[in-house]
Amino acid sequence: MIEWIGDHLAVIMFLVLTFIMFVGYPVAFVLGAVGIAFGYLGVVFGIFNVVQFSNLLPRVYGQGVENATLVAVPMFIFMGTVLERSGVAEELLKCLQILFRRIPGGLALAVVLLGTIMAATTGIVGASVVMLTLIALPVMIERGYSKELSLGSIAAAGTLGILIPPSIMLVIMGDLMQISVGTLFAAAIIPGLIMSGVYVVYIIILAFLKPGLAPPLGAHEGPQTSAELWKMVVVTFAPPAFLIFLVLGSIFGGWATPTEAGGVGCFGALLLAWRAGKLSFASIKEMSENSAMTCGVVFFILFGATLFSYVFRALGGDDVVIEILKHFGIDSGWEVLIFVMAMAFVMGFFFDWLEICLILLPVFTPILAKSAFPGYIEEAKLIPLYFAILLAVNLQTAFLTPPFGFALFYMKGVVPPSVTMMHIYRGIVPFILLQLFALAMVMIFPETIFWLPRRWGMLD
């Protein structure tokens, strides 16, 4: 018995972590505490040495502090916060709404497109979901849209922010998997657009079949002459286009690394906020503090997860995982991949993308890198990229799956009291199914991932 526990300490550690999370104490502390507690337990069982504790701080320092890549994280967080203030999104929604005024479901389409465009300027989910809910939900309800469709499309569109570059999640994945962040960004573009396209098709079909759910706006709204219409489009699309050009252009044009592009994007967002008259000493101070707090939250989880995964691996966690996989007959590349995808999906019910990445990637990246997908992916070096993007697409659902979808909680925080959690849950279910469909598409057609980076010569 004792021996069995010693051999399986890593698995027990993982189960204990999952269980303890539900006590409701901050995840960052729990991760670190479980890591350290099992380090001590490992000492008792003679499979961990106290001296190994002294490796922990250098690990945390190397992962979290002296790490140039992760400078992108605060920059994209800051950029999202500034952009939220600049009023760019409100203007854009008004414009899209008028462009789609004759189409059934036009407003929901406008929200999805807005989410897609905003996703290409900022990299955080919280900001975009809250922003979209605040500006779009009242309009949609007022226009007689069904609550479920409104909430579902807003939540789904808002979460595109972590998939469509620039994305904080891709930055952290790139860092954990040692893939260039620029390549990951390029690879995520088409899958992101597929996801957004699937939403669009669904909304059009639904609004066509059940017009009562999404009544059209009527042609009398907005400018009537095409000249005025064009003027409006140019005026409102210019700021986000400028920002997308600044951020993605500077990365793919080779001016700046993805990290620096975050800084350049912040600068652009500050310019937009300044142009809109929203910039003052007090507002910069407030935006800096809000962003700094989010950074503290994100990186403290990173600290905890670094400690956790170090101890997990020191206790032989990798071997145990491989052994368990073998025990259940999961050994070909496909089986492992599908297993990890299923696991990430299930973890998404309870964990945030950050914990999932930090726990799954270090364990499964080396296992998957050694597996083969014969007749499918010929070059072994492409496998980590394939895996990363599939996981990124999959983790979209981590934001939406009840009971613990982050996007749902952000939403609940800002919706009017007449909207219940049940409305939100019912609204997002079709979108989760759509996401799984998009995931299957990307999985079956890996060229959706490789085509763009290959074209831009990033895979050589």
């Binding site: 303890i20 999370m21 539900f22 006590v23 409701g24 104490y25 901050p26 995840v27 960052a28 502390f29 729990v30 505490a33 350290i36 504790f53 002294s54 701080l57 250098p58 945390v60 320092y61 979290g64 502090v65 002296e66 790490n67 140039a68 992760l70 400078v71 605060p74 920059m75 800051f78 500077s250 001016w255 700046a256 990290t259 620096e260 975050g262 800084g263 350049v264 912040c266 600068f267 500050l270 101070k285 800096s288 503090e289 962003s291 700094a292 707090m293 950074c295 503290g296 939250v297 990186f299 403290f300 989880i301 309870f350 964990f351 945030d352 009971p403 982050f406 909680f409 952000y410 925080g413």
Partner: protein, 192 residues
């Protein structure tokens, strides 16, 4: 009890002031990055008071600034109750039960974690200071004890924050009613 509460107030005030001050690192970081990109593109470099600000130094300065910003916010974020938690199972409990759980969490999870990490963080910082460790790059920044010092500070501040949160729960649970009201934790805010 009153004295404890004042201690808690003092911790909150000090950590808050430090965090707010260093939040300015973010706008400064934006300026440094933009300057770095432009100066590299056009191939010039600034020399201020005899110190060359080449790209290597600027890029090291970037992660220094970034780290300093978030390391000073880790503790204060706990005081502001913004660290992510999974409260599906416990979020609806009455305030007293939640306060008990939080206090237990401080004692069982946070305290052992922080107390184990602190001596290592201290050594890590002091070693860098005594050896006058600098960048591995020839043109890099000196003084690695600065970021390592802030890393140490992040654990110190997390420990102080845990102490402050625990004190408030103790006063709330076991103190006289008027003080309990004062110590009453702020309502849970949404993560981030």
């Amino acid at each position: 009890m009153k004295g404890l509460l004042r201690l808690s107030d003092a911790i909150d005030a000090v950590l808050g002031a430090i965090a707010r001050f260093f939040a300015w690192g973010l706008p400064i970081l934006v300026i440094v990055i933009v300057f770095d990109v432009i100066s590299r593109k056009f191939g010039f470099q600034l020399n201020i008071l005899g110190v060359d600000l080449g790209s290597t130094r600027l890029q090291e300065l970037e992660w220094h600034l970034h780290s300093i910003v978030y390391l000073t916010w880790i503790g204060f974020a706990y005081i502001r109750n913004t660290h992510v938690r999974i409260d599906v199972a416990t979020g609806h409990l009455p305030p007293r039960s939640q306060a008990k759980l939080e206090l237990l969490g401080c004692l069982i999870f946070a305290a052992p974690y922080i107390l184990t990490a602190l001596p290592y963080a201290h050594n890590f910082f002091v070693t860098a200071l005594l050896q006058n460790e600098g960048s591995a790059a020839p043109n890099g920044l000196p003084w690695r004890w600065v970021p390592k010092g802030f890393l140490y500070f992040s654990f110190v501040s997390a420990g102080l924050a845990v102490l402050s949160v625990a004190i408030r729960r103790i006063v709330f649970l076991f103190g006289p009613p008027d003080l309990a009201e004062e110590a009453m934790p702020t309502p849970a805010t949404m993560a981030h």
